[in-house]
Each structure stands twice: as C-alpha cells, then as structure tokens.
Symmetry: D2
Subunit: 326 residues, 4 copies
Amino acid sequence: MQIGIVGLGRMGGNIGRRLMRGGHDCVVYDHNPQATDALAAEGATGSQNLGDLVSKLAGPRVIWLMLPAGKITEDTLNDLHEILQADDVVIDGGNSFYKDDIRRAARFRELGVHYVDVGTSGGIWGLERGYCMMIGGDEAVVRRLDPILATLAPGRGDIPETPGRAGRDPRVENGYMHCGAVGSGHFVKMVHNGIEYGLMQAYAEGFHILRHKESAELPENERYTLDLADIAEVWRRGSVVSSWLLDLTAGALASDAGLERFSTEVADSGEGRWTIEAAIEEAVPAQVLSAALYTRFRSRDADMFPERMLSAMRFGFGGHKEFPVK
Amino acid sequence: MQIGIVGLGRMGGNIGRRLMRGGHDCVVYDHNPQATDALAAEGATGSQNLGDLVSKLAGPRVIWLMLPAGKITEDTLNDLHEILQADDVVIDGGNSFYKDDIRRAARFRELGVHYVDVGTSGGIWGLERGYCMMIGGDEAVVRRLDPILATLAPGRGDIPETPGRAGRDPRVENGYMHCGAVGSGHFVKMVHNGIEYGLMQAYAEGFHILRHKESAELPENERYTLDLADIAEVWRRGSVVSSWLLDLTAGALASDAGLERFSTEVADSGEGRWTIEAAIEEAVPAQVLSAALYTRFRSRDADMFPERMLSAMRFGFGGHKEFPVK
Amino acid sequence: MQIGIVGLGRMGGNIGRRLMRGGHDCVVYDHNPQATDALAAEGATGSQNLGDLVSKLAGPRVIWLMLPAGKITEDTLNDLHEILQADDVVIDGGNSFYKDDIRRAARFRELGVHYVDVGTSGGIWGLERGYCMMIGGDEAVVRRLDPILATLAPGRGDIPETPGRAGRDPRVENGYMHCGAVGSGHFVKMVHNGIEYGLMQAYAEGFHILRHKESAELPENERYTLDLADIAEVWRRGSVVSSWLLDLTAGALASDAGLERFSTEVADSGEGRWTIEAAIEEAVPAQVLSAALYTRFRSRDADMFPERMLSAMRFGFGGHKEFPVK
Amino acid sequence: MQIGIVGLGRMGGNIGRRLMRGGHDCVVYDHNPQATDALAAEGATGSQNLGDLVSKLAGPRVIWLMLPAGKITEDTLNDLHEILQADDVVIDGGNSFYKDDIRRAARFRELGVHYVDVGTSGGIWGLERGYCMMIGGDEAVVRRLDPILATLAPGRGDIPETPGRAGRDPRVENGYMHCGAVGSGHFVKMVHNGIEYGLMQAYAEGFHILRHKESAELPENERYTLDLADIAEVWRRGSVVSSWLLDLTAGALASDAGLERFSTEVADSGEGRWTIEAAIEEAVPAQVLSAALYTRFRSRDADMFPERMLSAMRFGFGGHKEFPVK
C-alpha cells in the first residue's frame, strides 16, 4: 500500500523502514534533506516539500505525520489543509493533545478529508518489536489503513494469550486498537504515558529505599548494602513486579550500579501533564500519577523557594537555624 | 535433599509439591491434620506435631516455615528453639518483618542454629512458574540450601537475558538471590511489595481516567466510551507499560468489564506499611508508595470523619450546604 | 459613591448592605425580583433589568457583578457589552477564571470600558468583618474605586502590625490589594483557595489520627479517647497551628463532637482545580494542594472502580479474597 | 509553688523565667554551669547536679525536664529513677515519643513516682505569649500541678470565645489541656506538629505558584509579577487562610522578598515522622501530612538516585537525552 510519511526523525524514520520491510511503498519528506535522502537510499521515494510529496501520491492519499506535537504539527496540518482533497486521509502519529485532534478533524471534515490520530508506543524499539498503536477516527477509514497498521504492529509474537478474549477484535492482540472517535487514540496514549510516569516513580522510590538501607544514620545491625542490579534482575523472574520497565532498569543497573552517567533532571512531556488535567476535568483522584509528575518538576527546580519558605517559618516560630544558610 | 515444611496453606503446600516434583524428600506438618494428610497422600512424610517432624528429620536438619507472619510464626519459632540442635537450619519463608528476623536469628545463634529468611514471591502461580526468592543469612548456609532453592526457583525459562550481566552471580538469573545478612531477604521482599502497591495504584488511576471519559459532565464532543479490556490487552503488546500486573488486569477485564464481582475494600498486608516506615527511617521521600497505601486505607474507612470536618469548615466560612447531609 | 450591583445572593446582597452602611449609593438588580425588593427595602435603588440599572447610574458608571462564575457571568457581561459606554467600569467580583478575565477585558477595552476583577474572600462573615479583596486592573481605575474598596475591606482592626512594612502600600493593611494587571486579582484569589484546601485537609488528617487513637486494633495500653473539641480549642491558644479555620473547627466540634450532621461528600469549586492546572502550567510541584483536591473527588465517587481493579489484581496474583465481595 | 527545672536551653530557660515572673520558686540545673548561673542571676536557685537539685526541693517534689528528646532525656530519667521518692512528680516537657512516656511511667510507677508528659508549643514566643500545653497523666497529679500550668499557659487573652463551650473544662480556654493518660499529651503535641508540617507546605506550594507566575515559559499575556509580601499581608485580613503561620510568613517576606537568607534544606523533627507512623498504625490515610514530610526529606537529598533511575528508564525505552548528563 502506498503511504506518505512526513517527519523522519527517530520515530518517523523507523516507521518508514518497518513499512518498507513489510512491502509498502513509502513517499517521504523531512524538512532536513539529509533525512529524506537517507530514507530514499533505503528504498523510499524522497520528496522536496509537502506539495511534492502530495503530488507523488495516488489519490485517495494516505499521509502519516510523525512530527513533534505543537507548532510544527499544527503548521504542517495547515499546509496540508490547503492541498489535500476529498477522501484523502491524514494521520497524526505524534503525541498531539487529543482536543487538538478534535478541532483539526472538524476542519478537515469540511473538505471531506479524513483525520485519524494514532498514539504510538514503542520508542526506539519499535523498528524491531513493532509499535503498539491506539487509534481514533472513523471505523471505515481505520479499516482502510489496516495493511499499514498490521505491518507496524508487533503481531501476536510469543506473548501468552489472555483467557476470555474469544470473539473479541483480533486486531487488539496484534497490538493495535481502534479506540473510538477522533482523538480517542491520542487520549488512550496520553493515559498510557500518565501510567508510565506512575510505574517509573514506584520503582524509583522502591530502589531509593533499598539503596539508602546502608545509611550510617540507621542502627548498625539494621544496615544492608544491597546489590540493586541483582535485585532488579531477580524480580524479573517470577515476581509480581516484573515488567518491561523493570527489564530496562535491570539493564541500566547491570552496567552502572550508581547510574552516575544519568541526569538528575528529568524531563516531562505533554502527556503526563494532560493526564492530570483530564483527571481533574473528570473529578478522578490521581494521587500517584500526580506525585510522579511533580517529582519531575521538582527535579528541575533550581529556585527552591518553597523550601526557603518552610525555613523562614521555622525560624519565625522556633528560631530554628539547624542548617547553614546557603 | 530432605526438608521439613511447617505450614501447608496455599503457599506452603505448593512449595512442598514443587520440591517433591524436584525429587526432594519432604517431612510436613500443619496444625490442621487434613492439610498434613493431603500432602502425605502426594508423597510427603506426614507428622503429628513439631516434635514429631523434628524427630523424622536427619541432622543437621533443614526446616522451612511457611506460616502467617506474627504470632503463629513467633510461637512456632519459640517451640523450635526448644528442640533444634546446633547446625540445624530454620528458614522463615513467610512475610515476617525483617527486624523480627534479626532478633530471632540472634537468639538461635546462641544455640548454633542457623536462621535464614526467604522472601517468597509468586503467589498461587508459584507451583507452575516457580518462586522468586530473596534470601538473607550466612553465605555458607544459603549455599547448603542451594538444591532446594534451585528447585523452587523459576529458572531461566524463556525470559530474555539482560545485557551486561556476564560474571555476575548466576543464581540471580535463575530467580533467587542471596541479598545479604539475616533479614535482608525479607527487607527486599518488603520493598518489592511496596513497589507492587505503587504499580497497582498507577494502573488503577489510569483506568479510572479512561473509564470516566464517558462522564456526562464532560463536553459532549470530548466524551469517549472506551473498551478497557481491549486497552489493557493492546498495552501488553509493545507498549512501555507492559507488565505481569497488566497481564492479570487484561484477564480480569476480559471476562468482567465492570469488575463488579470484586470488592471495593482493599486489604493491605504488613509489607506495604513497613515499606513506608523504612522510607521514613531512611528519610527517603516515598510519595507514590504512600499514596498507594493510603488509597487502601481509605477504601475501608466507614467513618469518613475527615470528610465531615471539611464539610463543617466549609459550612463555617461559607455557609456551603450543597450536598444533602446524610 | 454611586455603584450598580448585579447579583444579590449571599455575597452580593451583603456587599450592597456593607456599602450602604458606609454611605454609598447602590443601584441593584437581581433576576429574582424578591432579592431586588429586599435590598431596596434596606435603602438601595431597585431596578427591573440590566438596562434599567445602567440607566439609573450616572456616567462614568461603576457596576459590580457578584454572580456565579461561568455562563451567568458570561451572559451578563455580554449584555453589558452592548450597553456600557467609554470610561464605564465593570467589576467581576465573583470567582471567575482569570483567563476569562483577560479575554473579556480585551473585548471591553475596544469600547473604552474598563474591566476590573476582584477576588473576594470573607464569605458569610464579610458583612461584619469586611471582605479581603485581591484586585486586578489598571491602577488609575482601581484608584477610582478606592472609596468602595475601602468600605468593603475589613480595615486594620486589631490585627497586629507586621514588622518591616514601613513605606509599603497602606491599602494592603486595610485588607485590599491591587495585585497587577487584569486577571491577577482572580489569580491570587484562586491560589488562596488552593491553599485553603490544603490547610483544611491538613487539619482533617490530623484530627482523623487523633480520633482513631481509640481504635480497638491498637495495643490496649496505647489507646486514648481524646476530646477533639478541647484539642481544637487549646490549639487556638498559643500553638503554632492556630488559624481562623481552626477557630471554625473548634466551634463545629464544640456542639457536635462527631460532626454527624455534616456531609461525607465534599464539594470543590473551580479555584481548587484551576490552582492545580496553574501549577502544572508552571511546572511547580503541588503535592499537598493536589492531594487535598483529590480527597474531595474521592469523597463523591460512588463507582470505586480503581478499588475494584486493585482487588482484581490481588485476586489475580495471590488469590486474595479477604473481603466479602459486594 | 516550688519546682525543679532540668535543662535551661531556649525553652527551659524561658519556662523558668515565666514561672519566676508568676511568683514560683525555681530550683534549676543545666549541665552547662553558665546556663545555670544565668538563671540563678535572675532569681532561681542554682544547683550543681541532679542530686543537688533534688536535695534542694522539698518533698513531694515536682521536677520539670526540658531536654532534647532521646538519649539525654532517657539518661536523665534513669538518674532520677535512682534518687526520687514516692509521690514525687517528674514532668517531661520536651518532645519525647509518647510510647517512651508509657514505658517510663510504668517504671516510675513501681516507685510510687508520678510521671506526667507535657507537649509544649509556643517556641521562642512562649515567654511573652505563654505556652500552649497538652498534658498526659493522672488527673489528681495534673491538678496538683495546676498553679504551674496556669502560670505557663497563655490565659484567655483577647482571643474570641468559641460559642458552645459552656460547661466545658475552663483550663482549655486558658491554653492547657489534660488530654488523658500518660503519653496522651505528647501524642496530641505530635499530631499538632504533623498538622503544622501540612499547613506550612500548603502555604509554600501556593506561594510557589504565585512566584512562578512570572515565568517566561508562560504565554506573555498570562504572566504576572506578584508582590508576595503584600499578598501574605492582605490574606491576614479577613481571608479564609489567615493564621499565625501566615503572620510569620508575612513578616519574613516583608523584609526579604526572595527569602535569600534562608536555607533550602529543611530539617524535620521526630514528631512529623511519628505522626505518619501513627497514621499507618491506625490505617488512617494521611496524604497531605506525608507529602509535607517528604518535601523536607527531598530538600536534603544530595544523592538524587531516583531521578537518575527515571532518566535511565527514559533513555532505555525512548533514547531520551534531553538534559545534559551531569
């Protein structure tokens, strides 16, 4: 099946590669000509600009955008709005906010252009493992994209079957799901990332407790110096907390027990924040997901004004000056 | 290898079965004679009481306790203290508090009896999958137990190897780990359970947000009715949040989308609480693990006094009476 | 000074009363004619509708809206947009979202109409104690309103002076503050309410711990049956946690120790939610303020799906069925 | 009334001064002779050691300990255990853990010596404002101490009376309360401090949100540069969040808007930790109080291992390297 791909970064480039390996015909464009050339060298049809890409696709076209969420995606969709035609399909495979999908889709609908949002998980591993995809849009259009989606998805692999799924949509077990109307794909992916933050923080706190068990402030006979790499490894094997994130942790710790080469400042992307905003809109308590997000905020805060306020209050009522003022 | 097993409940019985399948010779005792008889019928040597069990074991003995943490374990260890002899080994495989291990081991040490603590994960799945074990005690004694531990452990199975582990203790990859001195096995298992709470709560919050996305309080064009069972399933396949807990969730949702048959009151065991206490002793922040524990407390609170206090304050400053007083 | 007041509910009516007591001339309107008549009977000039109110005010007019945030405020402002004239001042004294202020003010600015936002604290106590006001808008316009603001504010009263404030804006010590440009008044009031949630929850948790100290699950010699009303009272007198919220709590507990007449379902207004959204926009961790908000969400959740998920997972890995399924 | 005072630091010295001003006869001892001499110069009877102090007191004696909780208090009580006689009263006015009170009181009871615990709030302000006291012990003994307690307490002052307290214990309104059996005084004081942490953190988070509202990352028309000192001041006057902690905050900000002279590392004392442990023992959710404690832990953590773990996982699944590795 023929497909246009716009945005050939880490994710977009590999999506193109996986599609070509699956026998699909990719017309590609990146604002960086070297990226375009690189994929062309692997068998894709390169293009000079959006118009060139569109002209090289037979109608009704299918165009997959894999761009950073925000202004770049918005601008590109605005440009495509000028040149796409009725029954073309535009797919936003990036990490857009689902309310932007709803707004954009309404605008494309006036032209008869179909808008599909795909939340794509799998990161740098997707090329080999396949991409887990959460999809929003009209059912008939999503069905039309099935050859592409089936190629990108991981497939059943050797993951054990879940009992009780007889009669359910078999696409899901292949790793892609039509979640509902436009925006629902990105919404489900957003919550996925919110959960991801929570899981990561749960591991981080637990390993922090393990690591500090050698603290000299504890009674001497209650201290242990624990091998965190071995603990992560043994938990991969039959324990309740086994997971892919634990696999990655075990790998990181095996080669660098103190994780010294990693940053103490942790970025957060839009999805974590939007998840909390969604929880608040729905009046759903999200203690753990919020706490995980806030830990990241805190990791990047150089101001530490709230701590100063606590110190100021303690000084105010108790004259406490335990710590050297810095 | 010969071993005595005391406590033949869900865990202890299956540990006996897995050991017998592995060719070990089990002498068993449970205060419920029917439990003893059941395992005897499967090939174990039954015994009438602790003294009988000890008399049927050749010295130096190895006795594995698989009893509820607390009074029963304490009483049984006190009884064994009277009858065990130098160089015997007593193993507490239950969920004891690690500080109890330290105290008990010191007392047994006076007799020359070795005390080993084993944190055992795997639950009802351990018979088939094997048990992930975290072990505390003297290295020579733990080595002596290796035939038993190797049988109980899951083994390497088809779990992918973690890169960078060359030269490390191969027992870990078979699913059991000698963590350190007495108590360290239960300490590591305790933190494992603390993490487990956090992971579970992260999923629960995320699925709560997904479920309430159909709420009538949201703008109509921003509502989705999402299939939670399919979402859990698709995330098992190539997503970042795949885990064994997610596998179990996918199974539960596949057959009962509203989980109506499950309780809204969630129990917590000692480990979750002890994990928070350990964090506090170490001055380690544990926002997520605490929040997860508190959610369980809250689920069982019929008093709801704090909520009444909030309502009383709101009434006090604002005359708010929005909700019918119940 | 002459002023129009739109919205004569609990807050708006008392604002009118306090202004009249201060010698101001109030022209009032409420969509409920009885509310209008009631205030007219106390000396205000009643009006039949917005147009009537505007016609009874000499230009340049000052109109204070005291309406529920949201649609009613928006509609009323739209109506006023049609009939106000250059140099008139419209004040939103309700609990509007500050971004709405920014948007609305821009629209009024095109007409030469000034928009001022006033976050008003004081609730049902404001008539006697005065209203603490946080104000956003142009300095010249806010100065023009000074006679009104000074009357509504509590004044210095017998609250001890804060050292170090020499040379600062004296309005602040009288209980009203010009915070900055349009929207800043409501923004500061919003954060005020966010803090209020956190303070309330801190007390609620503490008293919960005091109350459960008589629990039969504790060791018998560690139980106390504590008099919460007396504790609240004694803390009002020289302790670090004394506050107006504690005063209110002491009053509520004195007459109803179990607070049985108060609801277990706690409402939340927009400000608490917006505060968290502001924190997220600013990447500021707000653990306590979020936790306080979520407690309220949880108090109203009849679904308890997340708890069911936890129970389902516990059943999945451990066969736990401790609680009767409901 | 005659009283012995042991420990003449910031708190103990001022307690002696306030008692002498009230006409009481103080025999004092501090291990630092200069501290003893200083108080003797103000009218107290100095003593050389514990034995000397005891010998200078007429029986039945009353001795008030005002020492750091922990080893010093324990050692001093052990020494007093050797020399006190039946019907003497020993008072621990420090910040001891209430379970230590229960244990110590049982041991003194064997001698017929009465043990009373007093949780004392008021800090450096107590000399002038009086001390808010929470008292545990036998009613008859507490009554015997009334002359001392009444002098130390703030008295009614000009704090408005709480309605509905007719017929209740009038001591409470004078700022001291007999909470219950031994230990209950320190237990109530402990929870007081737990609440204090929560209140402080609520303010700190709110002011953090106010302060970052000028962040360059926000849309330009949504930024405000807010005067935090004025905001704290205006909230003291008629707002819902007025409190003594806010008074102190207003004072600190008035002279140092950025609080630059205060530490970013915030100490925590035992009470905050014990409050969480009490909550866990009682199965009471304490989200806010825990979050407040953890913020302090985090402020002193130089390791930042959990943050490194998050970065390592992000690198593992996504190749994220947004932040320079430090």
